[in-house]
Symmetry: C2
Subunit: 117 residues, 2 copies
């Protein structure tokens, strides 16, 4: 079973490509480092398989928080990203959520219905 | 002096937002993990300062390779990303390059003239 890391992004924010990419990267780095510390086996498998990442869209901030709560309840690593507010956004704006790395089936039960970004 | 991680992206590829973000995230995770292993002090400082990331644009693949050569000569951590080719791109397509983390001045001497993504 292949591992992946899913990054869910708010679809209701207007972000430049570069800003969006930096936020997604922030979520991915945070999830990778957390899982390296707390779930080393999953981290190692995911990394060795090529560190697969999928980006999906959620409608708004409330959906991100709900997704994080469900993911935590399922025992997954999560990382909610708040922008530092230096450029396009008000400081503290929640932009995206990293989930995993974890097995495909485990993540699909939480994010499988969401559209790709 | 604040640290940052720069991700340079090819401007000549047509990528969806989500695909682009995943490629940038790949570069960021690779640079973070490499620097954690080989340049722990810089990694730690960068992470503790909020893991700042900047995305910039280069015209084409040749520019990415040239930038990587210059960065290596300057002793920086680099990570060149090749897409796995499962979706939008031909397998092995070089998409972006992560540089650092390193100090602002050190990176600006290499990438300061490039446009933000």
């Amino acid at each position: 079973m292949e591992r992946k890391l899913v990054i869910a992004v708010r679809g209701d924010l207007k972000l430049s490509h570069g800003k969006l990419a930096a936020q997604v990267a922030h979520a991915a780095v945070s999830c990778a480092l957390r899982s390296q510390k707390h779930d080393r086996r999953k981290f190692r498998d995911w990394f060795d398989e090529g560190q697969r990442k999928i980006t999906v869209r959620v409608p708004d901030e409330a959906a991100l928080h709900a997704l994080q709560a469900d993911a935590r309840a399922a025992g997954l690593t999560t990382a909610l990203v708040r922008d530092a507010g230096r450029t396009e956004l008000v400081a503290g704006t929640v932009t995206c959520l990293g989930l995993g790395p974890a097995g495909e089936a485990e993540l699909d039960s939480l994010t499988g219905e969401l559209s790709l970004l």
